[in-house]
């Protein structure tokens, strides 16, 4: 199923520059319904309060790490089907394995290009 350009997307990153970059790329790809959160905890609160179609998240964040947020999403009956794309500098194989085991939908290694992100989004929503 192709991605709905009107779906609400949550961009989760503690760095304001990264949130802006990811939002810019998503906007250029045709997604305009974009929200942001600074850490996993804030993201979970937003996810529970509204309906989101997609989450793009960093790994390394204060308060709650991206991987813990992913596990919480997959453990929540209401949220568990939301696709989660990890965009992270945590580029060790162990991190990737951990993310796969936690139920990640796809994984982008920083630094990345807009093409890579588009390709991953297409794969998630194909």
């Amino acid at each position: 199923m192709p991605a709905d350009p009107n779906m609400k997307i949550l961009v989760v990153d503690d760095m304001s520059t990264m949130r802006r970059i990811v939002k810019n790329i998503l906007k250029q790809l045709g997604f305009n319904n974009l929200e942001e959160a600074e850490n996993g905890q804030e993201a979970l609160t937003k996810l529970k309060a509204d309906t989101y179609g997609f989450v793009v998240s960093d790994w390394n964040m204060p308060v709650m790490m991206g991987i813990d947020m992913l596990r919480a999403i997959r453990a929540d009956e209401k949220l568990k089907k939301i696709p989660v794309l990890m965009v992270t500098a945590e580029a060790q194989k162990e991190n990737l394995m951990e993310a796969v085991q936690a139920g990640v939908s796809n994984y982008v290694v920083k630094p990345f290009t807009a093409e890579t992100m588009q390709e991953k989004i297409n794969k998630i929503f194909k």
Binding site: M15, T17, I21, Q92, L96, N106, P111, F112
Partner: protein, 216 residues
């Protein structure tokens, strides 16, 4: 080795019920003198160590502040560039929309096909520049990587400062070796930085691994 002998001798002097007028034990005085010189040399050595260690400890918070300033400056600079890029992107979007509308109007008015072709070429050039702008935007993700490295370095410096203060205040320089066994978070951060340099994946390798888990 002189210290226990001297202590034993001192004990003997205290315990033995010797007459006060007995001749002083010259060997005991020699050993006490040796012990005093040893203590004096040790104190000097301690003070020699303390000065540079104290100076280094005092400089570490400054280094941390400089690093955090570096992070803030790169963040501010990155936002400044992003602001300009976004302004150009918005302008391009408007120009692109106007070009399309004008092209349609000219087509309906049966204006020269060569002129319409020129307008379409203009639109394509705008599209190519939009791609470049997006490349500039994504290239700015360097700031996130810089910030993460700076955060790790600040944690390392904090840990080192703590250890140095422990050396100066509690243990003294002679127990440097013992401090090595408890390296804590700083050591872990250094390992992470080193590991990132040596074993981090690029996207191709990540994709290879993802394929093995059925991510096609």
């Amino acid at each position: 080795m002189a210290q226990p002998q001297a202590a034993a001798k001192t004990q003997n002097v205290v315990n033995e019920d010797e007459p006060a007028e007995k001749a002083p034990d010259t060997k005991l005085y020699e050993e006490l003198g040796e012990l005093a010189r040893f203590i004096d040399t040790t104190m000097k050595t301690l003070s020699e160590f303390s000065a540079p260690v104290n100076a280094s400890t005092e400089q570490l918070p400054q280094a941390q502040t400089h690093l955090l300033n570096l992070k803030t400056q790169t963040e501010q600079g990155t936002h400044r560039v992003m602001l300009e890029v976004e302004a150009i992107q918005d302008n391009h979007a408007q120009i692109s929309k106007m070009l399309k509308e004008m092209t349609q109007t000219f087509q309906q008015a049966k204006v020269s096909p060569a002129f319409i072709q020129q307008m379409q070429t203009l639109g394509q050039a705008l599209g190519q520049d939009d791609k470049r702008l997006l490349d500039i935007m994504t290239a700015l993700s360097f700031q996130d990587l810089v910030a993460q490295s700076v955060n790790k370095l600040v944690t390392i410096l904090d840990e080192v400062e703590h250890k140095l203060l422990q050396l100066v205040v509690v243990f003294g320089p002679y127990q440097k070796q013992a401090a090595k066994t408890d390296q804590g978070k700083a050591s872990e951060m250094l390992k992470q930085l080193e590991a990132t340099k040596n074993t981090s994946m690029d996207q191709d390798l990540a994709d290879e691994i993802l394929k093995q888990f059925g991510f096609n």
